[in-house]
Symmetry: C2
Subunit: 235 residues, 2 copies
């Protein structure tokens, strides 16, 4: 009678699940930069051993969402102004060409997906869930990279967008994030039209616009527990 007894405890990789959960929390700004990520603590939360937590943390360290200091532990990464600048420079280098490629390849189904993303983003904003809106906004860019059908570059873009989330958490100065919606909408339109040139230019100006909303002045690392800040001399 028990065709499928129970949804199964571990259908897939436990490590991946923990890593995804942590990444989501970071993307949605529930975990602030410099937050300490203790192995035992996380292990208890997700009911897994330190072994898998460590693997997840190392995985996140590879995309620079967390920083691991030997014998000290893992912390949510806290990009310096310089790193922040570099992330957006790299995006400006990669994404416009990706948008162009997407415009040349997008299927009606792809356009649908993009529009759905925007709709969900609006929903999240209306619900006051800024974290979720920000995450969706990032995934919009990832979706475009996917459509462009260049896995290698897509991966790079994915990590850049992940890091962008941290940059925004630290250096965003504009109040409203709504401004993006217009840019995204126009971008979808040009991709739907197959207007490569326009898509490339819109993506470029969109990124310039995003960048201009950052205040990259050097600010002392605002650790959640101020201890480090107080006992750190240089850096």
């Amino acid at each position: 009678m028990q065709a499928q007894p129970i949804p199964k405890a571990k259908p897939q990789d436990a490590t991946q699940k923990v890593a995804d959960a942590l990444a989501l929390a970071i993307h949605e700004h529930r975990l602030a930069p410099s937050t300490k990520l203790g192995e035992d603590e996380i292990g208890e939360i997700y009911n897994v051993s330190r072994t898998v937590v460590r693997a997840a943390l190392q995985s996140l360290a590879h995309v620079q969402l967390v920083e691991i200091q030997r014998n000290k532990g893992a912390f949510v990464a806290s990009p310096t102004p310089r790193e922040a600048r570099e992330v957006f420079e790299a995006r400006a280098l990669l994404e416009p060409r990706t948008a162009r490629s997407a415009a040349s390849r997008a299927t009606p189904r792809d356009i649908e997906i993009l529009k759905d993303h925007i709709a969900q983003e609006h929903l999240a904003l209306d619900a006051g869930d800024n974290g979720r809106a920000l995450n969706l906004s990032g995934r919009f860019h990832i979706e475009i990279a996917r459509i462009a059908d260049q896995d290698t570059i897509s991966q790079f873009i994915e990590t850049l967008i992940a890091r962008s989330s941290l940059v925004i958490a630290l250096y965003w100065r504009r109040e409203s994030a709504l401004c993006e919606s217009h840019a995204h909408h126009a971008l979808v339109q040009s991709i739907a039209d197959g207007d490569e040139q326009n898509a490339e230019e819109l993506m470029h100006s969109h990124l310039v616009d995003l960048n201009s909303a950052l205040d990259l002045r050097d600010r002392p690392v605002q650790a959640q527990n101020l201890r480090e800040l107080l006992q750190t001399r240089d850096q």
Copy 2:
């Protein structure tokens, strides 16, 4: 009397050492694509536990030097023709601009380092150590990225060059690798001269040239033990 008693058994991360050793072996083509990398086996070689071997393998998997199949184990990655093409497309996108930037920033010391790289490469070639020569050739590109002083993009380039080594192992068709030397030499000259335009163009044509030396026709994965090949139906 024992100011520094002994070189110290583990001055740094054991995981990193294992990962570096494996990466070097792959870069120098001592480990062919699709080679099985058993955890116990590697652990015995380097006298470390599976824990650190696993961490090293996962680290290498992140840069796609190895591929991990769940419950199956780790294998030296074997890029498909498509992946190979993408790797070089990405390099063509990133490296010319990086070379330009390097030309605008290089110090005399940097030039010295680059020339030293070329010299060492020649030495390795004369010694018949093609693996080492190839590795040095790759590190030459990494050095240029370092000079460009863009850490984020440099990291991307580093992984691309690592993967290039695998691509070359699988798809290289030209006999001599010497052709590169001229290109590298001219590149250094333009960087030393601060000729940004020239550096960018030289890097571009160099990559085009490299790409033209590949034969990306689909070839069935030549696993070292043919078993997989025989019992695999599709892909």
